[in-house]
């Protein structure tokens, strides 16, 4: 199991968000989630300019095994998407918390961040899940 970076916040559904210095928020899925999904073969990205709603699906990741919605942990306009994933979806398997990021949101409501799990709470969640 990979170390969970301390600056990330999580949804219970295994999406992470990192608030950047410029006030935008980068979103991806956790290393635990990529492990559950197995080899990823397709990522359906949102469009830049779309509006993400916290707790609703904004992207889809597909492994050989299953398709899975990616819920946005935060609301706001999507200002960037990781186009590299179109050709190399396996980047998420290799580096879920780094190069495997999926999209960037311009936060419209910072209060939403308070609702998320911090890294320790998320680590505890997945530990209990494994039992």
């Amino acid at each position: 199991m990979k170390e969970i970076p301390g600056d990330l916040s999580f949804l219970k559904s295994h999406e992470w968000v990192r608030v950047e210095d410029n006030g935008t928020a980068t979103v991806g899925i956790s290393d635990h989630a990529q492990g559950l999904l197995g080899d990823l073969v397709y990522v359906e990205l949102p469009n830049v300019g779309d509006t993400a709603q916290a707790g609703t699906a904004a992207a889809v990741v597909e492994s050989v095994k299953a398709a899975s919605d990616v819920y946005s942990p935060v609301s706001g306009e999507i200002v960037a998407v990781n186009e590299a994933l179109s050709d190399r979806p396996e980047t998420i398997n290799e580096d879920a918390y780094g190069d495997g990021w999926i999209f960037v949101v311009k936060l419209s409501d910072r209060e939403e961040l308070q609702e998320l799990l911090d890294a320790d709470a998320y680590a505890e969640l997945i530990e209990n899940e494994d039992d």
Binding site: G38, D39, V41, Y42, V64, K65, S86, N93
Partner: protein, 360 residues
């Protein structure tokens, strides 16, 4: 209750991700199912298939019994060791299961049926066996390892006793070398050459470890599914069941009607063929990005069908599937993926033969 094969601890020690498969705790993958898939296509991989149900049938009238029980004709099996793929049908012509049957000697045949259908298969076989005086014996004391890939036979032979190895390397395709301690069949479920090896449970871990040492890659159910679908092989429960006849499941080639033989389901198959079969199973390839999945709607000019088995093909690098669609020329075909109609091509199966893409 979850059942475990004798290799369960071995899989866990290799770091397998385990899943429930028809009540069995089985390895899904040992890391990357795509790498395991490629190992089988390019070199050699092995699968624990001990969950499958081995049934030995004995009695002087066994051949007669199986000619009545199965839709393919066991009468085709002339040489000891020879294997046959068949469906076992109900009276309505629906598929109770698909299976392989091996001819051992005139009073002894072995069949291997699916794990998920074990109970109903045994009940069906037993229900009809009595009138032929057949003894039906489930062999849950045996384990089975499938070794598959272009290097599978050579690597497997390197770990077998010398006499068995040289005999195994001489086996023709779809022929077995029967034996109680070591049963070696040149069969499989991947579209590659290889062996399915049946041994007593007590020998299975040792055989697995020797194969591992010989450079055979452990592969899980994930790779097994993508390999068999690329090879154009049906999966029971997903591609056919008791409501589907072989005509509707791309399995007409396994039904032997011309021999005049009476078998269970024959009248229904005849009637359906005479009346015209309304649905057909076809291969589908999607050139756009995305993955075809079980249950997606397939839109054709003759009406709607559905995706049966669907997956991402590691060999082709695109999505492939079986679909059941209305019979006749389908015209332009699309699949509904989350509300988007994506064009697909109808193709002949297999999608991959001996490691190579069959598609243009």
């Amino acid at each position: 209750m979850t059942r475990k094969t004798v290799l369960n601890e071995t899989h866990r020690a290799l770091g397998a991700r385990m899943v429930d498969f028809g009540g069995w705790d089985m390895p899904l993958n040992y890391g990357s199912q795509i790498e395991e898939h490629h190992a089988v296509r390019r070199d050699a991989g092995m699968f624990d298939v001990s969950h499958m149900t081995v049934v030995d049938l004995a009695g002087p009238r066994t051949r007669e019994f199986l000619r009545f029980l199965f839709a393919n004709d066991v009468g085709k099996l002339k040489k000891p060791g020879k294997a046959l793929y068949s469906c076992m049908l109900n009276e309505q012509g629906g598929v109770i299961d698909d299976l392989i049957v091996y001819f051992i000697d005139e009073s002894h045949f072995r069949t291997v049926v699916n794990a998920s259908t074990r109970e109903k298969d045994l009940a069906w076989i037993n229900r009809h066996a009595g009138q032929f005086g057949i003894s039906v014996r489930e062999r849950s004391d045996l384990a089975m390892i499938a070794v598959q890939g272009p290097q599978a036979r050579t690597k497997a032979a390197s770990v077998l006793p010398t006499d068995a190895a040289s005999a195994a390397l001489k086996l023709g395709k779809f022929v077995a070398l029967p034996g109680e301690e070591l049963f070696i069949a040149r069969t499989g479920y991947t579209g590659e050459d290889g062996f399915e090896i049946i041994v007593p449970e007590a020998s299975a871990v040792d055989l697995w470890n020797r194969l591992l040492a010989a450079g055979v890659t452990p592969a899980g159910l994930g790779a097994r599914d993508t390999l068999r679908l690329e090879a154009g092989m049906n999966l029971y429960g997903q591609d056919m069941d008791e409501t589907i006849t072989p005509w509707e499941a791309g399995l007409g080639w396994t039904v032997s009607m011309d021999d005049g033989r009476d078998f269970i389901g024959r009248a229904a198959l005849q009637a359906q063929r005479d009346g015209g079969v309304g649905r057909a199973m076809v291969g589908i390839v999607m050139d756009e990005k995305g993955v075809l999945r079980h249950g997606q709607a397939v839109l054709t000019e003759n009406g709607q069908g559905e995706i049966l088995s669907g997956t991402f093909s590691p060999t082709l690098g695109k999505a492939i599937a079986f679909a059941r669609i209305p019979a006749g020329e389908p015209g332009s075909v699309r699949v509904d993926i989350r509300g988007r109609e994506v064009p697909v091509r109808v193709v002949k199966v297999p999608f991959v033969r001996e490691g190579q893409a069959v598609l243009a």
